[in-house]
Every structure is written in structure tokens, then in C-alpha cells.
Point group: D2
Chain length 287, copies 4
């Protein structure tokens, strides 16, 4: 198939091509792939454009398994279950959950961007990794910024899921120098007083490994969201079959703090409305 | 401006037209409207294509105020607050809330469709409204269907918000014959044993009045969703400023019922996996 | 870990359990799974509750590869690219795409439900599969219903992707009797005049195979959506890096058919508004 | 009704309160509001907590009318129409459109935040508005930042919709000093060579007026999204009734640039896969 990108069409794409009778995925005939290509390899092929090696598949499987606990303790799961309790639809539930990934949770892209940016500046710096890390940590503290991907409410020093993912990436030779730098930054940070116990968390380690696999920060967040989908499908299915028809917050969990004793007629007059709101009342106009 | 719909373009629209220098809304120059057209009239104009009369504006205002309590007892509000606690964004919160309107809550379209369909069959029936209603209620019971828009967890016989909306529509001469038929059906239904207390609820009454204003069932749901937006903006703003950073379900609200004592190695062997999952382990392949 | 479902908590779940230090996925320790469990097996485990056998993994891989062409010819891809051209965010794009799966495209659930329902009635019928199929096709035609999952704009008689998926399921002994019935229905249908060329399409075949793997109709739609994610991540990434900043429909694709020559002042007077809209103008109130 | 916020409940809200028999909106009985409160006043009340004055209602009506042209030239409208062409649902279409508001279009919050921030620094500066504006413009240019809310593809010097909105706000005495500062900044900017023709656009002016009405940046974006809803409901309704069943990009608008001549078997071997993908093939394992 010939490239026709020169035509100046409104849309162009390098991902797949559809002809009336054939579909090509990154240049491969889709019919060859069905029944042969494992889904993890398909994820890599579609996003990155080439077939992965066995170690890359194993590491990507590890990334995709790192947050399988996308359970009731994640905002997206709960948002999805509330949504489908009102509008029972798998597509709706998955969309609500996708929306609940962002600055405060699971979006690996801030960390990935941080790692890529630091590593690029490190390479230009001429410093050793340790020197660079110490300077960078000092600089971040002065400017009031934090290192993304650190800290966990329970785990101190080591997050075991992050450790399992790291060990896998090292074993498969998919641990990038940029991740060494991220660990050096973490290490320098934990030498600060009171910071000894701060661990690299699962999202931070996913970001480092995704950088090593060559995903862009945005693609990394896409992979992180993808990794939550199996758990979400299970939770939405559980809600649709065994959940409650219209979930509302149980009344005893809500504290209303609404002003009491307000007088609507009085306050509306005080706001400057004589006898009517205009179109809102107007019996005179009717007569 | 001349119609150019004949060109066979991929998209066509009767709603607004944009020229490089002017925008026409249903044929009116947008600059004439800004500062003159109240938003409620704009809603009517955009959806229905013509300017509303004063009674139509007053009734539509009533519909738009009927569910202002889009509070913490609605699934959409809670879904939105969970979503933005993770991904702080007004657009994301409003989208999550829109998604939470459907078969089980607030979608007026099922009731509107029911009313329109019954009224059309009534007009062809030659029966009186009471006869038709009794036959229809009997038919629904036989086939196991329910009348949409009835019932409320608290209000018996009368839902005061529905009653306020009805009174407004009657006062403004926007109460359609189809709504009389809906009331006749409700009335016939409440003569069944054990059904005496079932009220037409707020969503049912909104649907009847939206039919009277000439909105299609789908447009009616759109108006119902629109009516929730002010409350949702307020709730999302409240969550973004005073809420919690990453909301999770409090642990004591969750009962886990997960199988215990499962042995991964054993179960994986029993499922037919000899020593590895293929790509998943394979140090042998590496050597 | 002990079940605590008896406490009557507001939420309950059988999927995963989170303790302060451990996460259990369907009863297995998450740390055991990372680096060992391929993602396809994780999908099966989370949704269905047990580890899959090798044939089940291979068939599920096939299902997950059947629609990898989630390209520019699918509404969801285009909706996602338009959305992120305005609001550049991977999470937003994936949500917009999830939303674009439904009655008219990719939702396997209608077909799955049809297959499950037919097979259940067939088992009670005492008929042969061919007799049942002929009766059912006749019944559907009389009532004006169609068989879901049939037909393709290009492929006649056989959709090669559906054929590849079917061959895989048969080879792996995951082809259920219910799918035989679905083929018998298709076969009976194609004996009708003018219907000889109608193929079972890829969504129809996915639905049949998903039934064979034991997924509920809603879960099947979840898996179908999941299968589109890699292509969507690639397309959203392509849009974010090489797309257009604010995509709008090119002007020559739009045919506006808006009424011309409308006079706002005149039409507003005709609609019953004397000099002002009420709150909308009111210089008198100001004085 | 007594405040019970002290209970330490998981949720708290100042917006509305629901008792089994009454709903209070910002302290007012909902039944008093239905049929009396225009929707524009309800929007103000819910978000800001108090009833608006007549001028505030007129200005908010102006803001809500400023982007009524939410037509086919906006990404959100097109995303919504693509989505519902696949998944025909009003709620889905409105959600897809909400998602398409963000950094590149319609989100007034960046401009609002800029205005509020500049005004706060101006008040502490002791400079005249002109001096401050000149210094700030110089500072922004040095640091490579742009002033948000400026520029339009067609309108030079003045965007007539922005001008109409400004005139309304001035007439109603709702034009804040912060907006004067924003104009001073714009004015200073247009004295730069080559910038003479840059206008404050409609989104920039909406942001300034929303600041004047006292909405937070996030609330302002909520109001901007709300203002698009009538047009979106109309467009989604048009698509559901007169659109196309499954919209895809017309083939002649797409230029595929996919690699040709790739050999799947060869590339898979080169990637390091001997005879199978592991679980992907494995007839040997079966025996």
C-alpha cells in the first residue's frame, strides 16, 4: 500500500490503514495477527509501531499488572459504580472511570515528564548522577516543588509492588539510565531530615519503567488507564448485577451546612426585585 | 444567507450558521441577542427553532427549577465529586454527572415516549380518556410493564414539587391534553388495590410538561440534564476548594468477600500451565 | 483474610481486597502476579474470578485482536481526536471513545443477549437446531426484528476477521453449542431470497466467542471496549503530538440550512413580548 | 434546619439540604422557587449562594448568550455528534461535549486566573494601571508567556460579540476594575509592533465579566460550558433524528501513512520470538 499522506487530506494517520478488503495494523495484515499476537504485544505494536521483544512483553505485562487492585479504594471505581447505578451501561461506567484519572491519581505522565526532563538536563550537565541529584533536590526545595511519584500512605521506604516491578525490569534488561537517575533523586531526597521513610510508590515506578519502554508521558498514562480496565469491567459488572438501583450517599454520611431561616420573599425584594422577575410572573401581561 | 444544503455536504445543520463575520442563531444575528435574550428563551429558541411566548418561558423556567436539588443524594453529583477529587477539572466533573443520567434516574425520555405513544393510540381509539386509561393499565399489568414516572420513596399521593410544576403549567395554559391522559392513567392505576398512595413524581411531571412544550423525548432529557448543571457546578466547585484530594470509600463502608487461602502456583498449574505462561517467564528463551 | 460481607456495609465486593499492606486479586496476592501473570490472563481472572487455561488465553487474545483496527473509520476514534484537540488529555480522549460504543457499533451485548436467549429457548424446545432456527427466523421476520451481528458494508458471505476468530475458537475447543445455534440462525436467514450474501460480522462473531468464554453480555462489551484501547491510545497520542490544535469541521463540509431574513424585533413582539423580556432589559427599573 | 456539619461526616455541603419532605436550596424552600425563580437567577443562586440583583441577572444572561453559536465549528459539537451516531443517547452526547472544553477552547479559567492574579499584584504594586500593564507585558514577553483570551482568526481590533458583552456589563455597572486592568494589558500589548490588530476575543471577555460577577475561575468554566448546552441539545437532537447511523470520516479525507511491505513472520522472528509467543500458539504444551 502506498502512502498517500501527500494529498493534504484533513486527517492523516500512521497507525492503521483500512482498505475495503484489508486492515493493516502498523503495516501488518490484521488477519495474520488474530490468533497469533498476544494482547500485550498488540498494545506495544499499536502504540510504538514495532513488534516487541520477549523481554519487552514481559516488562509490559508487569506494568499492566501493577495496579490490578483498581478497587473500591480508587475514586474511578466508585465514580463508575455510582454512574452505572443510575445509567446502567458498561460504556458509561468505563468512561466515568477514565475521567477519574488525573493530577491526583494514577496519571504517570507528570512523573514521566519529570524523569525525561531531569535526564536530559543531567546529560548536558557534565555532573555525576549523585552531584546532579543533590543539586536538583536542593533546587526543587528552594522553588517549592515536589518530586512526583514518591510517598505512600502505608508503605515506608519500600512499596513492595514498586519493588516487584523494578526487579522485573532489571531482570529483563529494560531498566533505563533515566530510572537510575530517578532513584538517585529519590535517594538524595531521603537523606533530608524527616524524609528517610519516603518510598517510590507504584505510580512513580510505573512511570520510570514506561520511560524505559519508550512510551511518551501521555502514552504512559494511556497504558496506566488500560491497566485498570479489567478491574473496572469486573466492578461495573458486579454493580450491574448485584449492586443497588440508584446509589445515593447514605444520609448519615452527609452533614448539611445550609443557612437556615432564610425568607425568599424578603431576600428577593432586598435584591432589587419589585413584584416580579420579569418574565417569571407577569400576570399583568396575560390580561 | 442562502441555504446551501443541496451541496450534499457531509454535515448539515438548521441550528446556527457561521460566516467569517457573523453568527446566526436559528436565523437571528447573535449580536442582537446578547444582552437582550434571557437564557431560558435562548434554550427554547435553540432547541425548538422559534422564540417562545411569555407563558412558555415561565413554564420552562419552572421545569428548569424542578430538580435544583441536584444534591448529594443523586448519583451524578457523587460520581462528579469522586471524579474531580482525582482529576480536578470542571469539564470532567460535568461530564461524569451527565453520564449518570439514564434509565434509573432523571431521564424523562421514557416517560415522554410513553405519554406520546399512549396519546397517539388514544386519539385513534375512539374511547373516552377513562375507558382508554383503564384498558391501558390492564394491558400493562398483563404484560408486566410499569407506568414510568410514578412513585417516590417519601411522598404519598402527591409529590409537592410535581404539584407546583403542574399548577404552573395549568396557570400558563401550557398543560397538554396528553398530560390529562397521563393523569387519567395514573388515576386508573391508583384504583388498583395497594396502589392508592402512588404519586406522579417530579420526573414524571417534568416529562408531561416537556411534552406540552413540544420537546421530543430526547430533547426533554437534555433539558432535564441542563437543569442539574447549576447545582453540579456548585458541588464541583465545593469539592475542588473544600473537598478531599483523593476520595476513596471509607474502609468501614466496604465489606470484602474475596475467596481466601488461594494458592497461585497450585491453581496456575491446575489451569494447565506447566512452568511458564509463555512470554511471561521464559528465562530459557533468553539464554 | 476473612469475609466480612455480613457486616451489612454499604459496599461489598468479591473482586479484590485491600488491606493496609496487601492487595488480593480474586484471592491471590498481587505481588505474586506482577511479573508472572500475562495481561490477557489478568483480564480473565479479574472479570471471571478464576485463572484461565492456555486455550482460554489464546482465544481471549484472539478476541482482543479482532478489532485492533480501531481507526479513523470508527466514530469513537474521531470523537476522541476532536475532544483532545480542544482539551489535550489522554484520560479525556479515552473517555470520549468509550462513550462512542453503543447500540450502533461494537457493543457485543445485544448479540450476546440474543444468542444466550435463543439458546435457552432452544434447549427447552425439543426441536432440532435447524427446526428451531427456521422457526425463530420466521418469527423474527413477522415481528419486524432483525438478527444482530449480521452484515458488513464490504464483505459478502464471509468476513475474514470473523472467520479467523471462529477458526481459532474451534481449534482451541472454545466454540460453544450456543454459537452453533447462532450459525444455524444465520444459515436459515441466508436461505431467504436476497439474503444469500449476508455475513456474520466481526462484532457478531466476537459476541459468540465471548459467550463461549463465559462472559456476560455486559462484560463482553467491556472486553470489546478494552480491545480498542491500544489503537485509541495510539490515535490520541498521534493527535496530541501531530494533530491540529482546535479541530473544527472544514467549512466546505458543512451545509447550513438556517432560515434567512428573520427579524428579531418583529418576531419577539409577535411572540408576545411588549418592550422587554422582564429582567432582560428593564431600564425603567433602574431609574 | 440545624447545621450538622460538626458531626464529622464524610461528606458536607453548603449548597442544598434534603430532608425526607423538604428540599432547601441555599436555604430557600424549593417549592417557593418553582414557578417564580428564572433559571438565570437559579444559576447565580446555586453557584454563589445568594439571590442576584436585576443587573446581575441581565449580565449573566449576556454571558450565557455569548457563545450560543456552539455549532459545527466547535470540537465539542462534532465530538458529540460522532459519539451519538454510534451510541444514540442525549446524556452521552452532552458528556462528550463537556469533555471537549479545555486548554485550547472555551475554558475561561486560564484567563480568569490571569486577571485575578494580575489584579492582586497590581493592587500591591503602588503603580498606575498603565505602568503596571507595561511592566507586566514586558515581563510576559521575556518569559515567553502569552496573555490569555486574545486573538481571533477573523476579527481584528474588535470582536463584536466581546464588544456587545462589554457594553452590557458597563451599562449594568458590573464591569470590575480587574477588567479595566485586563484592557490596560491588552492595550499595552497592542502597542507592540505587529500586534496592533489583536482583539480581546469572546472567551477573554467572558472571563473578565465572570470575574466581575464574582465567579471563581473554575465556576466560570462551568458557566461557559452551561452556556453551550442549549446548542448542544439542539445538535444532538438533530443528529439523532436526521443524522447518519454510524458516522465515519469520509475516506477521501484520510491520508494513511502506514509502512508498507512489512512481513509479520520475519519481523516477529527478528524481535526474538522463536516459534511461538508462549501462550499464543503452543500446541506442544497441549499434548
Amino acid at each position: 500500500m502506498k502512502s498517500d499522506v501527500s494529498r493534504g487530506a484533513y486527517w492523516s494517520s500512521r497507525i492503521s490503514a483500512v482498505t475495503p478488503e484489508k486492515v493493516f495494523i502498523r503495516g501488518y495484515d490484521l488477519e495474520d495477527l488474530i490468533g497469533d499476537l498476544p494482547f500485550t504485544a498488540a498494545i506495544y505494536l499499536l502504540i510504538k509501531g514495532d513488534l516487541p521483544s520477549p523481554p519487552e512483553v514481559r516488562v509490559l505485562d508487569g506494568v499492566l499488572s501493577a495496579v490490578l487492585d483498581y478497587g473500591l479504594e480508587k475514586p474511578g471505581t466508585v465514580a463508575a459504580r455510582f454512574a452505572v447505578s443510575a445509567n446502567p451501561s458498561m460504556a458509561v461506567g468505563l468512561a466515568a472511570a477514565c475521567l477519574s484519572v488525573g493530577r491526583h491519581t494514577l496519571a504517570t505522565e507528570d512523573t514521566s515528564r519529570f524523569i525525561v526532563d531531569c535526564y536530559s538536563r543531567f546529560q548536558e550537565s557534565g555532573s555525576t548522577m549523585e552531584e546532579f541529584a543533590d543539586q536538583e533536590v536542593a533546587r526543587l526545595r528552594t522553588s517549592g516543588h515536589r518530586i512526583p511519584g514518591l510517598g505512600h500512605p502505608v508503605f515506608k521506604r519500600v512499596d513492595p509492588r514498586a519493588a516487584a516491578l523494578r526487579a522485573l525490569a532489571v531482570r529483563e534488561s529494560c531498566w533505563p539510565a533515566a530510572a537510575d537517575l530517578y532513584e538517585a533523586l529519590h535517594s538524595s531526597f531521603t537523606r533530608l531530615p524527616g524524609k528517610e521513610d519516603i518510598a517510590i510508590n507504584d505510580v512513580g515506578m510505573m512511570a520510570a519503567v514506561l520511560v524505559g519502554l519508550g512510551f511518551s508521558p501521555e502514552e504512559g498514562t494511556g497504558v496506566a488507564i488500560l491497566s485498570t480496565m479489567p478491574g473496572l469491567i469486573a466492578h461495573i459488572s458486579e454493580e450491574l448485577t448485584g449492586g443497588r438501583p440508584i446509589r445515593v450517599v447514605p444520609r448519615d454520611e452527609v452533614a448539611y451546612d445550609v443557612q437556615s431561616g432564610r425568607d425568599y420573599r424578603r431576600d428577593r425584594a432586598r435584591a432589587g426585585w419589585t413584584d416580579d422577575w420579569g418574565a417569571g410572573a407577569a400576570p399583568a401581561e396575560q390580561s
